[in-house]
Amino acid sequence: MNTKTKTFLHLACAVILLLLPLVLSKFGLKLTTEIFIMSIFVLSLGLIIGYAGLVSLGHAAFFGIGVYTVALLGKYVSSSYVLILAAIVFAAVTALLTGMLFIRSSGAYFLMITLAFSQMLFVLAYKLKDITGGADGMPIRATLDLGFGAIDSVKELYYFMAIAFMISYALLYMFIKSPAGKAVVGVKENEHRMKALGYPTRSYKLLAYTISGGFAGFAGALYAYFNHFVSTNVLAWQFSGQVMVMCIVGGVSVLFGPPIGAALFIVLQSYVSSYTERWPIIMGIIFIAFVLSGRGGIAELLIWAWNKVFGNKAEDKPTVPPPSAEPEGPNPKGVASA
């Protein structure tokens, strides 16, 4: 797939997303708005899992920091610019500080440590009931206002979140295309070699982790404006796990994978739970069936199908290598443009 096709596909998706409100019901709009917010969050996790090889099971910590920043600081400050910026900065700084401590370890150990850290914040928010509302939660009074009047109707929120998602996607796309982003991928592929080449490998991982934390905080801030309510659920490890599932289901080797996973997860959950109270069992069975099918994420399947239909010989690979085994530096469509 050449650059022109890629640009075309990206723009086509953007146009479709901007036109969707014409056909969606109010419920569908709200659901899609939620998908946009979750997509930013999932993108941030996809960045560190897919590109830096850091499998975190505590990413809800940064999302939660974003939500609680808007919720708590919003009592004293009304400017949306200040609140969103504060959410991003707090989350990114927390990621930087904890990353310095955690990135010394990798693999399963990293997974456990990030999980434990996020749980620490969860317990803290749970115990500080007077400030955070604990598990019962608290309403968020801050309203979204960029200086052109309040953004609070369903459609306005939809467009705001859609644009926020597109900007986030574009920024992350630029990051992974930048020399620093390529170095991050290099560290994931072969840390020893990158070290030998003189790259400060840990700093590059830390950079990716910090950026990821910042975007997660951004998503959290948006969620605060969308949901107008926060409880400790946004810090719970089950939430981190769900986001990780979205990432894996969507596919982490390309940037457009995680948002697909988020969309599928949210639509499926809302669909199944409207039919049966036993939706967790069904979701669980779907996850396991997905793993057992063993074809990577949906993004990898789409790329494979695309190559089957439109691909020339050079791109026509019979099977898609698993994300971790991908020899190429991933480009956003995941295909080696021969």
Binding site: A116, E191, P280, I281, F287
Partner: protein, 289 residues
């Protein structure tokens, strides 16, 4: 604080620590040999407790219920290993997705069958008394839990250092490929290890039920405590888990006396301190690059 009350608290902490050790042992053994983070460990613990609850409610003897529950969990463990996990060794993301799916299935099934009202298993009659301890009395059941914990530690130590099975398992931790090259049926070893881990989860679930109760969301609490213990103790070493479980048990129990609002936070602070001083945990063999 009165000395006998302090002793009471220390014993309570020790009993809790032993329970935590039994919880974490299954997780750390599975992780040590199979390199799998079994996120469904807490769910297995909970299901074990509920199965025993179902039997004791039908007036089955506590000890019989214990044996049945452990056996059922071990069999579930074999099934999971053979049919699901066996295909995804070395694939970290797939394992996460799989075990996360199992959590959904187990916890929701438990909720389906036993509802979301908190349950508990009564303490077996033979242990339902207290031992006087100065001005307070200490429940015998908790002392029994301490004894079982120590017994399991001794058993693990014996199997690991003195038996052929232990030698095979230790070899597997160090070099799995060499193990299969030596003609050892590693499939059987792997299935047994997972069954053992699941059985341990079931055992601790049943023994813990009279103390901790059984409730929705318990699986998450258990998993997190186990992970914290594994992180503090160091990966792939059940001895580390033993020491850190006792440490966490004592810190948590005494923490509840001194800082009641921040009991869980104290544990995590302990973890962070350990990680700053020794990133691979107390008994870890050094950080992976």
């Amino acid at each position: 604080m009165n000395l006998s009350i302090l002793l009471f608290q220390i014993l309570t902490g020790l009993a809790y620590g032993m329970l935590l050790f039994m919880m974490a042992a299954g997780l750390t053994i599975i992780f040590g040999l199979l390199n799998v983070v079994n996120l469904a460990h807490g769910a297995l613990f909970m299901v074990g407790g509920y199965v025993a609850f179902a039997f004791t409610k039908e007036h089955v003897n506590f000890w019989l219920a214990l044996v049945i529950a452990v056996m059922i969990m071990a069999i579930i463990g074999v099934l999971i290993e053979r049919f699901l996990l066996g295909r995804m060794y070395g694939k970290e993301l797939e394992q996460v997705l799989l075990t996360f799916g199992l959590i959904y299935i187990f916890t929701d099934t438990a909720k389906w069958i036993w509802g979301s009202t908190p349950r508990s298993i009564p303490i077996p009659e033979i242990l339902d008394f207290s031992i006087p301890l100065g001005i307070v009395a200490f429940p015998a059941y908790r002392l029994f839990v301490v004894a079982v914990g120590i017994l399991i530690a001794i058993l693990l130590w014996y199997i690991e250092t003195k038996t052929r099975v232990g030698a095979i398992v230790r070899a597997g931790v160090d070099d799995r490929h060499m193990l299969s090259a030596l003609g050892i049926n590693f499939k059987l070893v792997f299935a047994s290890v997972f069954a053992f881990g699941a059985g341990m989860a079931g055992l601790s679930g049943v023994l813990g039920a009279p103390i901790l109760g059984l409730y929705t969301g318990m699986d998450a609490d258990v998993l997190l405590l186990s992970l914290v213990i594994v992180v503090i103790g160091g990966l792939k070493t059940w001895k580390g888990a033993f020491v850190s479980a006792i440490l966490v048990g004592l810190v948590d129990t005494l923490g509840q006396v001194w800082f009641p609002q921040f009991s869980m936070v104290v544990i995590f602070v302990l973890m962070v301190i350990v990680l700053i001083i020794k990133p691979s945990g107390l008994f870890g063999k050094g950080v992976e690059a």
